[in-house]
C-alpha cells in the first residue's frame, strides 16, 4: 500500500497524535475485531461513550462498504489516526491475487441505503472511491464537546 492509498480528502490538515494499522482477512466473522479496535482507539483518544458506540457502528459500515458482505480471500487494511479533536479511519479492501477485481465492489459506495443513512448520521465526513483497483472508504469523526467525559 502506498502513501497515496491513505491520503483521503481533508486529512492534510489532520496532525495526528498517533495511529494504528490493522490488517485482517476480509471475512464476516472477523468484523468484530474491527469494531473492537475502533472502540479501543476512540477510548485512547478520550472520546466519550456515545461517540465510541457511534464509531463502532460507523466502522462496521465502512468495512461493509469496501469488502462487501460475502466471505472473500482478500484482506481488509485499516488505518486509524487520531488527533486532539478527531478520529479518521481509512479502510481498503485488497483483493487476493487469484481473486482479481470484484465487479460488485467496482463502484465504491456504502453497502446499501441503510448503511449510507447510518454513516451520514454518525460521522462528520465520509467517502468512498477506488484506488489502484482497491475499493477504499474513509470517515472522520470530530469530538463532540458534550461527549468528553
Amino acid at each position: 500500500m502506498s502513501d497515496a492509498t491513505w491520503a483521503v480528502p481533508g486529512n492534510d490538515v489532520l496532525h495526528e497524535r498517533d495511529h494504528v494499522e490493522l490488517s485482517l482477512p476480509a471475512r464476516p466473522e472477523l468484523l468484530f475485531l474491527v469494531r473492537m479496535t475502533a472502540a479501543a482507539v476512540a477510548s485512547r483518544a478520550d472520546f466519550g461513550y456515545d461517540q465510541i458506540e457511534d464509531l463502532r457502528l460507523a466502522i462496521d459500515e465502512l468495512a461493509l462498504t469496501v469488502s462487501g458482505d460475502e466471505a472473500t480471500s482478500g484482506r481488509l487494511q485499516l488505518l486509524f489516526k487520531w488527533t486532539e479533536d478527531a478520529i479518521e479511519v481509512v479502510g481498503v479492501y485488497e483483493p487476493d491475487e487469484a481473486e482479481g477485481p470484484r465487479r460488485d465492489l467496482a463502484v465504491a459506495q456504502p453497502a446499501n441505503e441503510l448503511s449510507a443513512r447510518i454513516l451520514d448520521a454518525l460521522v462528520d465526513e465520509h467517502g468512498a472511491d477506488v484506488v489502484g483497483g482497491c475499493p477504499r472508504a474513509w470517515l472522520r469523526m470530530r469530538r463532540r464537546k458534550a461527549s468528553r467525559q
Binding site: P28, E29, L30, L31, F32, R35, E53, R56, L57, D60, E61, L64, D69, A111, N112, L114, S115, R117, I118, A121, L122
Partner: protein
C-alpha cells in the same frame, strides 16, 4: 473461531404467536441466521411474528436489511413483523435510518403479542 458465543436466536410461543428472541450482536456474520429463522417462520405459514431485540447489543445495516425483508414478506401475506426494542443504542439505529416509520416497535414481548 465461532460466532455463537455472542449471538443466539431462540423461538418461543406466546399466546399462539411466534417470538424470536435475539441475543448478542447482529452483524453481517450473524444476520444470516436471523434471516433463516424468519424465513422458516414465513414458510411454515406464520403471518405475524415478534422479534425481541431487547437483549441485542449491536445491529448494523445488514441486520436492519434482514428485518426489512422479513416485514415485507409477512405484510405481503397480510400479517406483520413486530419488534421489541428497549436499548437506547438500538433505538437510535432505527431512528437514524428512518425505520421507526416502518416497524411497529414495542417495549416488551408481551406488549407486542397483545397489540
Amino acid at each position: 473461531m465461532t460466532t455463537e458465543v455472542n449471538f443466539e436466536v431462540t423461538e418461543s410461543d406466546r399466546e399462539g404467536m411466534p417470538v424470536l428472541s435475539v441475543r448478542g450482536e447482529v452483524d453481517v456474520s450473524t444476520a444470516p441466521e436471523l434471516r433463516e429463522r424468519l424465513l422458516a417462520l414465513a414458510e411454515g405459514g406464520e403471518t405475524t411474528a415478534v422479534v425481541d431485540l431487547s437483549q441485542v447489543s449491536f445491529v448494523d445495516s445488514t441486520a436492519l436489511g434482514v428485518l426489512v425483508s422479513g416485514v415485507k414478506r409477512l405484510r405481503s401475506e397480510g400479517g406483520d413483523l413486530r419488534l421489541v426494542v428497549t436499548e437506547p443504542r438500538i433505538s437510535k439505529v432505527f431512528e437514524i435510518t428512518g425505520l421507526t416509520d416502518v416497524f411497529k416497535i414495542y417495549a416488551s414481548a408481551d406488549e407486542a403479542v397483545r397489540a
